[in-house]
């Protein structure tokens, strides 16, 4: 069973890369070699890696192009932040964050399922456009909503805070475009890495299971999959929902890493969704490990080049081109295989 062994080894290398990254960063942190700027980038880097894994499940494994995945991240972020804000004084940090994860993931999965029902009836470009629309709708609706809680229960409004008509003891949870402020900042790099490892575990294991093969069969040829007795719609829904759920987990990390959560275009608009798609494409469509590496490099790079001012985006685009060539050019693939073979032979 050589291919099975190779698969297990491949997966272990993926986990190993993440753990090695974690250890290096922790050592740098402990020895004080990490600037406070860089320190602040560690959690975002990890949740972008997580959502890249989620999007790769949708684009690479299921084969459906979604450019609204930041919408699911947004839902996970807000659902969990509402919970954390409500229970900020009543629950201990650890338990609150744990439940926040469950809520964020569950609500994002629910929305993934509901949005999947109409969206997955479409194909190709149409599907991409509609996911983009849903991503924007989610962001804009959250921006318009006011929500408050008082002794009488939950109040909603689409106008302003006064319109909520709350008792004097009421607490505003979502303040329209001002979002949610004062959520406890309980996420940290260690928790983020654990969530990344769990997401990888789920996606990589899924790929090597009966359901994962069915999902890839739908991607490769849905007509043949149907003729082989595969429930095409069911498996599409399954992959899309799991993908949304993982994006929701990234959202929980997002909202628990900041004190003031707003649904801005910078983080939840289509630009952000396309940036994540760039991570997935350059890391290799269907290559989960590549998504993690590409997300880490491409997220950190522009931030670390801030000192170079105007040259920053120039270098960033050159790196994009180099990564593209490295991953997809036939000559580069040949060269990579040669290097790997030499390395393997030396070890043998």
């Amino acid at each position: 069973m050589t291919s099975k062994k190779k698969r297990i080894k491949d997966n272990l290398i993926t986990y190993g890369i993440v753990i090695a990254l974690y250890i290096v960063m922790e050592i740098l942190l402990k020895t004080g070699n990490l600037s406070s700027h860089l320190k602040g980038l560690l959690v975002p880097m990890t949740y972008y890696a997580i959502i890249a894994v989620a999007l790769n499940l949708c684009v690479g494994i299921l084969g459906e192009l979604s450019i609204g995945h930041c919408g699911f991240m947004c839902i996970g972020a807000f659902a969990s932040a509402i919970f954390s804000k409500l229970t900020a004084d009543t629950l201990p940090d650890g338990i609150r964050l744990f439940i926040a994860f469950i809520i964020g993931i569950a609500v994002a999965a629910l929305f993934g399922f509901l949005i999947g029902i109409p969206v997955l009836r479409l194909k190709g470009d149409y599907l991409a456009i509609v996911t983009l629309a849903f991503g924007e709708i989610i962001k804009n609706v959250i921006n318009a909503v006011y929500m408050g809680v008082d002794s009488k229960g939950v109040h909603f409004s689409l106008n302003n805070v006064m319109d909520l008509g709350m008792e004097p003891d009421g607490q505003v949870i979502i303040n329209g475009a001002m979002g949610i402020t004062g959520t406890p900042r309980t996420a940290n790099f260690t928790i983020a890495i654990v969530v990344l490892l769990l997401s990888l575990f789920v996606v990589l294991n899924l790929m090597n299971s009966r359901d994962g093969r069915a999902i890839m069969a739908v991607r490769d040829n849905s007509i043949a999959a149907e003729a082989s007795g595969i429930n095409v719609t069911g498996y599409k829904m399954m992959a899309f929902t799991i993908s949304a759920a993982i994006a929701g987990a990234a959202g929980v990390l997002f909202s628990h890493n900041i004190t003031s959560l707003t649904a801005t275009s910078q983080y939840f608009g289509y630009n952000a969704s396309i940036m994540i798609l760039v991570y997935v494409v350059l890391g290799g469509i269907g290559n989960i490990r590549g998504s993690v590496i590409a997300a880490a490099i491409l997220y950190l790079l522009p931030e670390m080049l801030r000192g170079l001012n105007t040259y920053r985006m120039l270098i960033y685009s050159i790196v994009l081109i180099v990564m593209m060539l490295f991953n997809w050019a036939p000559a580069a693939i040949e060269w990579r295989e040669k290097v790997v073979n030499r390395f393997v032979k030396r070890n043998a």
Binding site: N208, R213, A214, M216, D220, E226, G229
Partner: protein, 252 residues
């Protein structure tokens, strides 16, 4: 009772009666051929049998069970598997995974067991591997188990498609022009493969074919379609020597 019984099957697309009053009976274990000139409605019959199209009239019975109104997936579960005129493999998946997709409905474990690799996962995967390898050995594809399906030569791709169809353990196998695009050597090998499938699995087969050498070589019975209607039905030899058939199809 016949394995497949089709009565008065008709379908019209607009004003065109693509299949008109089509009758067919296939006994268990038979190798049955469906021939006819281009556009006669052969593939439409296949699409009706597999639920891609719903007939306007008529009844399809498989092993006594009425499958007329079932969809493609349910018909596969009822026991009809097919291959396609233009080969449809899962091209980015390995040879063994293609076959294991066909085994999906026969070896079940829950999604949770699959994601966590617990419970029945390991025993079921092992059983699937064994079953898939058994099939690949029959089709002489066991050496290519880890090759990507798209990297197989044409003849082997066709074999893999048949292997995948057999993995769903059907009662009836439909082959849509299996020899299309094959050279004489590949066609000869395909005839051996089809004979092997019958012997190994005791399979009932219905095939569409244009290659007369293949049809006369292996089919026991034939139905000739012309303009959506049955022109002639019966033993291969008798049908192929029928003057009407020769005029309509074989060209004098």
């Amino acid at each position: 009772m016949s394995l497949l019984q089709v009565n008065n099957l008709s379908i019209a697309f607009g004003g065109l009666r693509a299949v008109d009053d089509f009758n067919l009976e296939i006994e268990k274990g038979e190798l049955y051929g469906l021939i006819g000139p281009n556009g006669a409605g052969k593939t439409t019959v296949f699409n009706l049998l597999t639920g891609v199209y719903k007939p306007n009239e008529g009844i399809i019975r498989l092993d006594g069970e009425d499958i007329t109104r079932k969809n493609t997936i349910e018909i596969n579960h009822a026991g009809i598997a097919r291959t396609f005129q233009n080969i449809r493999l899962f091209h980015q998946m390995s040879v063994i995974d293609n076959v294991k997709v066909g085994l999906t409905e026969r070896f079940k474990y829950s999604g949770l067991e699959g994601v966590l690799h617990i419970g029945r996962y390991h025993s079921m995967e092992k059983a699937m591997d064994e079953e898939a390898m058994k099939l690949l050995k029959v089709f002489d594809l066991d050496m290519e188990r880890d090759t990507l399906a798209s990297n197989l030569p044409y003849g082997k791709q066709r074999k893999l498609e048949i292997a995948r169809a057999m993995a769903t353990s059907p009662k009836l196998l439909l082959l849509d022009e299996p020899a299309a695009g094959m050279n004489p050597n590949e066609t000869a090998e395909l005839m051996d493969t089809i004979a092997l499938v019958r012997k190994e699995f005791d399979m009932t087969i219905l095939l569409i074919e244009h290659d007369m050498k293949l049809v006369s070589g292996i089919c026991e019975k034939l139905t000739v379609l012309n303009f959506g209607r049955v022109l002639k039905q019966g033993e291969t030899k008798a049908v192929l020597s029928d003057l009407e058939v020769i005029a309509a199809y074989l060209g004098g």
